[in-house]
């Protein structure tokens, strides 16, 4: 299992050395990865069907509760099969779609990375592990959405997608940590076992808010939906993969997964119902105004996600079965429609639905695939969409109280719009007579048209045998969200009842709408007038003001003057230390512990003060440097007096080198000018004196504290026993605290590389001039 999850990561790393080879010869061979993973997960169907989830445990950081715990149950299996199954088709499709693309290797590397993170996400049982994969999907989808990186619009939408999903991810992390902390376990299964503890906790509302923030941003729920249509800038195979089965379903998956842990309360139910309901209506309504095929699909995808959130919100066993059915329904027809759109775009060069028509004359198999997908999205009997829609209506009708009418009305309206959107994307480009400009279009390579047709056919196959797929895959999936008491097999025919009537009404109204209404640019532009109020504009405004803030902050706080930095650091330290000293219970200084001053120390102290005076008053830089070094050497002597020879030696050599460095730099400086007027000098003098006083005060305070000697005794006792050294200082440096030393020399090296590259690069620039 670990290998199955990590395979994608490993493959994506292999692209670094072997990318060129893959790009030229073996692009299609990469598809073996998702195909073999798909077969691997298929082999788990019998086990999961028998109702026994499979767990895998690999210790990773056990001390922090982070382990590679994977849990394969019905829900995880459904998602894994979608991820790898649709992944296989997308991999195959892309090998032809992006044939000869200069960055094909990069594309596959990102795609493998993304697939692996999605797999990890749906299989993780440990919530911290889940979060890691969650973030990985955000990051890898950023690369995928921004794949056309020479297009500024594409880069911008990738950034927005990352900002929205990443921001939600941060909130989710807070929520997950809170959950783990309060329930005492980071395992989802264990949390589900004592879910009451979380639900009755005072912070339950906060947890819900944080988890919802993560799920809603990822699954593009209103008002965070705007990143998804923007993400359509990606090449179509990516859109198909991200928006049908994977990325955007991650939020839905999270809600489904946490249903047994957090679900069941009024907060949970009403939030999901309202957000899901608003999202599905809003975006289904929007989808009928779009003229770009991918725009239509984007908005209908958001609507479908809204439906799923809505179904999870209802929370009855019925609605959860409906949700798991609809996940599969939507993945099949939406991936098929996206891939079909990709082919149309690839062959005709346009995605404008007002221009496309009659393509069935030149691409018949694709037209059949598109038709079937559209019918499945419409929910015609004998397609899988019909089962899905039926179950949705059944779930809304069986919800309690007055709510039932509202929910059903919302669901019917959304489905009418979705039917229209599906017909626009799947039927409209193929219907009618073929315009002159598309006469030259022909059916593309089989790798392109077989995947969408296959997906559409699967939709029909499942529609004809719903009981079978239900028992094999979908009931176990629903089972992991809730305890199913009675499992009613999925059926095509339920008899004449209200649900059938609603289905008929949906079909009739939707078809009527398609018949009457033709998509046009005017309607789209009428809608764009309201853009100023949209959440997207609000987000953009926020985005701009954050940039403004950071520009202001950088200009005022990091203005490049070293003296200003130093001044701020020192003043801040003074304030902090003074605050601590003032709030302390009382300052006790015991001068009795201070040793008497000897004549040597007095002499050295006098020299030190002299050096200090000279360095402040002199008008020559060289004198100032020499005077400062006198101060340094005096301090070295102090170290010698107080038996710290190691320190003294190091300080001595460092001081010498610093003077050399100063002298070297002094050559570059303009003649000595005194910028500071008297008031600045007085200010600096006061600050310096204050700082000195506070440090001295602290030094004296430390002396009056009882001295704790455990650590120094340990080093003293063990330096020779454990590390065979008699010089404790050196033993600490190279043995006891060797890691510190290691990092210190690494930092030193970085500094050297920094100086070298800065100056050398400058040199080359001046040479060019």
């Amino acid at each position: 299992m670990l290998i199955a999850v990590l395979a994608g990561l490993i493959v994506s790393i292999l692209f670094i050395p072997f990318g060129k080879f893959f790009r030229q010869q073996a692009a299609i061979a990469v598809s073996l990865l998702p195909i073999s993973l798909f077969l691997y997960f298929l082999s788990y169907i019998p086990v999961i069907r028998s109702g026994l989830p499979v767990s895998f445990h690999y210790p990773w950081v056990p001390s922090m509760g982070i382990n590679l715990d994977f849990h394969l149950d019905g829900l995880a299996l459904l998602f894994s099969l979608l991820i790898t199954g649709i992944g296989s088709l997308v991999f195959l499709y892309a090998s032809s779609y992006l044939k000869g693309h200069p960055y094909l290797d990069r594309f596959y590397a990102y795609l493998s990375l993304f697939m692996a993170s999605m797999l990890g996400l749906v299989l993780s049982d440990n919530i911290l592990l889940l979060f890691i994969f969650w973030e990985l999907t955000s990051i890898s989808s950023f690369f995928l959405i921004g794949f056309n990186n020479d297009d500024p619009v594409s880069r911008k939408s990738a950034l927005i997608a990352l900002a929205v999903t990443g921001g939600g991810g941060l909130l989710l992390m807070a929520g997950l940590i809170l959950m783990g902390h309060l329930s005492g376990s980071y395992s989802i299964q264990e949390m589900a076992d004592n879910a009451e503890r979380l639900k009755n906790h005072a912070l339950y509302g906060l947890i819900l808010l944080l988890v919802f923030a993560g799920a809603f941003t990822k699954s593009a729920q209103f008002p965070f939906h705007f990143w998804l249509p923007g993400a359509m800038k990606a090449p179509t195979p990516i859109s198909a993969y991200l928006h049908s089965a994977t990325m955007v379903k991650a939020g839905v998956y999270l809600l489904a997964r946490f249903s047994p842990v957090l679900g069941g309360s009024d907060y949970w139910q009403y939030t999901l119902l309202i957000v899901g309901g608003v999202t599905m209506l809003y975006s289904a309504f929007h989808s009928i105004f779009r003229t770009d095929l991918k725009g239509i699909l984007a908005y209908s995808t958001i609507a479908a996600l809204g439906i799923l959130v809505f179904l999870i919100g209802i929370g009855t066993p019925e609605s959860l079965v409906a949700a798991s059915v609809f996940i599969l329904v939507h993945a099949l027809y939406k991936a098929s429609l996206f891939l079909t759109t990709g082919i149309i775009d690839h062959e005709t060069g346009t995605r404008d639905v007002t221009k496309l028509a009659g393509l069935r004359h030149v691409m018949l198999p694709l037209a059949i695939g598109g038709l079937l997908a559209a019918l499945s999205s419409a929910g015609l009997p004998l397609t899988f969409g019909f089962i899905g829609k039926d179950l949705i209506y059944e779930a809304t009708l069986h919800s309690p109280g007055i709510l039932r009418f509202v929910l059903t009305a919302v669901a019917v309206l959304t489905n009418i719009f979705l039917l229209y959107a599906g017909f626009l994307a799947g039927i409209k480009p193929f219907a009618g007579s073929l315009p002159q400009q598309f006469k030259g279009v022909h059916l593309p390579h089989g790798l392109l048209w077989i995947p969408p047709v296959l997906l559409s056919l699967l939709g029909v196959l499942f529609g004809c045998f719903p009981a079978w797929i239900g028992e094999v895959l979908l009931h176990p999936a629903a089972q992991s969200m809730t305890r199913l008491t009675t499992v009613a097999p999925l059926k095509i025919w339920h008899g004449f009842n209200l649900v059938l009537l609603l289905s008929g009404v949906t079909l009739a109204l939707g078809a009527l709408l398609y018949w009457v209404r033709k998509p046009s640019e005017q309607r789209l532009s009428a809608l764009t007038r309201f853009n100023a109020l949209s959440p997207e504009q609000l987000f953009r405004r926020l985005y701009r003001s954050i940039i403004k803030l950071s520009v202001w902050y950088t200009n005022t706080m990091h203005n490049g003057y070293l003296r200003v930095y130093l001044l701020r650091i020192v003043v801040f330290a003074i304030l902090l230390l003074a605050f601590r000293l003032l709030t302390a219970d009382g300052i006790v200084i015991d001068l009795g512990t201070v040793s008497p001053v000897s004549i040597y120390e007095l002499v050295v102290g006098a020299i030190l003060v002299g050096g200090l005076y000279l360095s402040v008053t002199t008008s020559s830089r060289l004198t100032a440097v020499a005077a400062t070094s006198v101060v340094g050497y005096c301090i070295c002597l102090m170290f010698v007096f107080y038996s710290a020879p190691d320190l003294a030696m190091t300080q001595f050599t460092i001081d010498t080198l610093t003077v050399v460095l100063f002298v070297l730099v002094l050559f570059r400086l303009p003649p000595f000018l005194n910028f500071a007027n008297n008031s600045v000098k007085i200010r600096d003098g006061i600050i310096a004196t204050l700082f000195g006083c506070i440090i001295s005060l602290i030094g004296l305070l430390v002396l009056s504290e009882p001295i704790r000697t455990e650590v120094s005794n340990y080093y003293g006792d063990n330096a020779y026993v454990l590390a065979k050294g008699k010089n404790v200082v050196n033993v600490i440096l190279v043995d006891f605290r060797g890691f510190d030393t290691m990092f210190e020399i690494v930092v030193l090296s970085i500094a050297a590389i920094g100086v070298y590259s800065l100056l050398k690069l400058r040199l080359r620039a001046t040479e060019k001039e």
Binding site: D646, T650, L661, G738, I745, A752, Y756, R762
Partner: protein, 137 residues
């Protein structure tokens, strides 16, 4: 600088200082000293040479650019850190040869670690100083 005294003194001081720096490095485990100070002393020796004869000549004398010492030192320190792992011991366990080796004294993984520090310090100091000097020229 054109001082004959300095030139003569430097040509004697360079080897003596270098030898002294190695001495400081080796005695570090038992007496005041160690890789850091040793490295600084060795760098001072080269800086002195650079002052007297010019940086170009010092670089020629060194043959390789001092920056080379940085990765070499880091590699040596890292190796000595991870050498115990090969024997199944935790990282940075001190490994020692039982009998002292004449002149050098006790030899163990900590000595190589210190040697790594020594090399890195020389590399860093000389890279920074020589780069700035050459920039000035």
């Amino acid at each position: 600088m054109k001082s004959t005294i300095l030139k003569t003194a430097t040509s004697y001081l360079l080897p003596i200082l270098l030898l002294f720096s190695v001495f400081i490095l080796l005695r570090g485990h038992y007496h005041p000293g160690g890789g850091f100070v040793g490295g600084l002393i060795a760098s001072i020796a080269f800086v002195l040479h650079g002052f007297t004869y010019g940086t170009e000549n010092t670089l020629k004398l060194m043959r390789y650019h001092p920056a080379v010492l940085i990765p070499a030192g880091l590699a040596l320190a890292t190796l000595s850190m991870f050498a115990p792992v090969l024997l199944g011991l935790p990282v940075m366990t001190g490994l020692w040869i039982d009998e002292p080796i004449p002149v050098i004294g006790m030899v163990g993984s900590a000595l190589f670690f210190d040697l790594g520090v020594y090399l890195v310090v020389i590399g860093v100091v000389l890279t920074i100083l020589f780069t700035i000097t050459q920039y000035n020229e």
